[in-house]
Symmetry: D2
Subunit: 293 residues, 4 copies
């Protein structure tokens, strides 16, 4: 099977590599073309432009950093729009909001192309291990045709219906994640403030109904006030904000998410935006020089 | 090994039964003595009063329903205080607050007795399966002597230091649980309000870093608006309140827990206090007859 | 002094009437031209289009219902842009967001025109009484030239600096208002729930440091669960959302405003969006059929 | 009219002085008797003990610092209980919780005495000016008999019904106050973070529907980050906590108050407990060394 792949950042590189290793014929493109070399050595073809990739391949997958980059590869000179046409499929796996994805869907469809949004849950490690969770939405036939590639990149893919549902599902999941991280941080600080051992709290949590990989993986580092970035706090805060905006449209009142969002904003204000989102723990902590009662 | 057991409610019955099955010589007592019969048939001795049980056994375990019951078996006529003395150990596994447990510790110690608080995490099913998590605090030697019984009743026991730490650890754990339940409810309702399939959300969550038994077990019922009581909402709200009060003493600011507590209060106000704590989902739900925009 | 006036809704009609009564020579325009007749009888000239008004008058004031209407009178055929030019001033008193106002400023300035945003604080009654508070920002000279008109329409005008500051100041004020309304509602419900007389609470508040016209005016109706619309709840919620978004840009964490916003969203979900924003009181109230404990 | 007065702190001294100036025959007592001298020079008699004051006077007013002091003057040797009897009235104007006041009511009534709780709203300045707001509850006849004294000490008194209602009304009022202070702080910080002039915000607020003495008096100092103590933040936080507990009993969900309470806790954790409650402003402020985005 032949696929194009646009965007070779941390995620895109790992994902396209897995495709190559699994026998896919892959044509890659990246804004900084030098990044294509490593993959070329491993057997990838290189496209000069997104348009060139689309011209060559029936299916083109994109994994870009943000909405702006996702739109650029479509609309810029040499962009996807110049070659997309009936018969071709475009699959955007970038994490972008529903309005960006809808815009791309519109213009791709207008040219007769087929479109699938397919944001993923999981970061660097799952990308390398082919263990991503893929939240696809849009053209159902395209979804079914591209499953072999999804099976290589992820451990599970979901088809969620109309375009926008993939982006929204990811927001819902990340919103729950952000609230849980705050709940966890409050528990850690309360344990400490009450004279309890925080590591014992982790042990107790690990045995009960709330046991989950996130607490287990991030807890020990948080106790050490270490927050190596897997998912930047500023992105988590952005997702909380977008999720709350989504709730706004649907008249869903979400006081826990709102409180968590304000905590992430406080953390951003403290200069922690580029740390891992678990750094929101610092917002909850009692200031060390506090003397108040 | 010979142990006394006070209190044969849902939890106490299951726990004492496990002790009998494992070869412990158990003397039981219950306020309603008729409840002792079933256990007597299985080999338990029956004590007429808590005092009689303590007189007979070196170790007496209690599993009562609330602080008031926990204090009654100590102070009432025929209560524990009449027979507790040097050499004897009293282990209270009821879920009570730190002040109740401290009071019991004080009077038991004043008589020369040894005291251990040992509240558990887990409800009916884990009690029956001997899979409780035991949060012990108080007399360390007594803890070590009673471990054979803990090993029968629980899958893991922790020794947490001074009396009060067991109760407080349980509050911290339940506080995290209550906040998580709210975060989860908000996610479920946002998914629904945004046109996403709630069961798919459960599937996505089950595959990611937040996967946990609580979401998996309660989620499907919550989607059906079914809340069979495993842990009553009014008890969850009480624990949230006590945890926030604990944070008050320690100057720990916990906005997520506070927001969750208010949601549980709202649920109580809606008449859901005796349902499972997952019924807080009803607070988040959009009223069905809503026409607002 | 001669001024144009675009938009004769509830606010615009009252404001232009005050200008006429004070001796201003006013040329009015309204999308539904029939609304101009009443003012024409009182001495106003009528313009066929916004462009016609701008052509005739050195100063044109606009009071439109929302950002979309504010943009239409600029960009549509027969719009302000066709006639705005050096020497002319355009003053938009509509309540719109900073990005709308910045866009208008940009295109008016590009044509050599001068621009002032001047949203107002106050609704129908203050408009009729010439008691509005005017939050002006943009061209300073234009501000000084138009002061005679502001003095007729308002009791006080402020010059706040660059375009956008007027819109943002209004958001800050409305955010405080929304939070206060929630605080007030919670107090009313707590009084009732605690067996206290709510009218007495109003009396006590009226005598103390928190005494304010809003509590005094809305309190008695709220106690009766009556919410005649002075400022629609859905607009209040929109302003809360925009204020929180403003805080997002500035890294200001605002948990009270966030909690208030969620309460307004809940009220919208209950179908109260078109009622007065004081209807958020209904969100706090204990359900009448509640049986929970 | 002859009255006893127990407690000559800042408030009690000002209040008893006003009684003397208005022609009341006052017998004072204070734990540190030396504080009585100044009032003795102005015509007061001095009692050796609370009991001596009660023996001498038909009406005894108390203004103590906290629940513990309020209970001490009742129960200690030489306390009120030794002389209270049918015909005598005891009026406690201290700010204490409903349970303390109920306890005092119980023992005073048991001796045949009459009891009125009468906490006040207002601090030093209103006490000096005889401008307190008096929230009385308990014996209605006693209330009517003591009105002449209330008229001297306060600008208005309310009779609120059964004992406990005075304490609870004060909690409701202070809860609204604490939430409003947080709303105000968020507005001030958002104004600053958005490039708006904070003093202009004060001016705008002063002209609108939210204008109130508290914003006017505390705002300018808050902008300067100055928080001279009129009402200590730790007492405000305690009142928020008690109000929320009151809501707990009544099943009233109060998310704004809960969020405000957590902000006050944060402020306490920052060492601001003895500053004015307006110091919660510091919790909202963006850290000055923040570099986050």
């Amino acid at each position: 099977m032949e696929v194009g792949f646009l965007g070779l950042g941390i995620m895109g590189k790992a994902m396209s590599l897995n495709l190559i290793k699994s026998g896919f014929k892959v044509t890659v493109w990246n804004r900084t073309l030098s990044k294509c070399e490593e993959l070329a050595k491993l057997g990838a073809s290189v496209g000069e432009t997104p348009a060139a990739v689309v011209e060559k391949c029936k299916y083109t997958i994109a994994m870009l950093s943000d909405p702006s980059a996702a739109l650029s590869v479509i609309f810029d000179k040499g962009g996807v729009l110049e070659q997309i046409c009936p018969g071709k499929g475009y699959i955007d796996m970038s994490t972008v909001d529903a309005s960006t994805t809808s815009k791309i869907n519109e213009v791709v469809s207008a040219k007769g192309g087929r479109f699938l949004e397919a944001p993923v849950s999981g970061s660097k490690k799952p990308a390398e291990d082919g263990q991503l969770i893929i939240l696809a939405a849009g053209d159902k036939e395209l979804y079914e045709e591209i499953i072999p590639a999804f099976d290589v990149m992820g451990k599970k893919s979901f088809y969620l219906g109309q375009v926008g549902n993939g982006a929204n599902m990811k927001l819902v999941v990340n919103m729950i994640m952000g609230s849980m991280m705050n709940a966890f941080s409050e528990g850690l600080v309360l344990a400490d403030g009450s004279g309890l051992n925080q590591n014992t709290l982790l042990d107790v949590l690990a045995l009960g109904g709330m046991a989950n990989p996130m607490f287990a993986q991030k807890g020990p580092a948080m106790i050490q006030r270490s927050y190596p970035t897997a998912f930047p706090l500023k992105h988590q805060q952005k997702d909380m904000r977008l999720a709350i905006a989504l709730g706004d449209q649907a008249n869903v009142s979400m006081p826990i998410a709102a409180a968590a969002n304000e905590a992430f904003k406080k953390a951003k204000g403290m200069g922690l935006g580029d740390h891992d989102f678990s750094a929101v723990h610092e917002v909850v902590k009692i200031p060390e020089n506090a003397s108040g009662k």
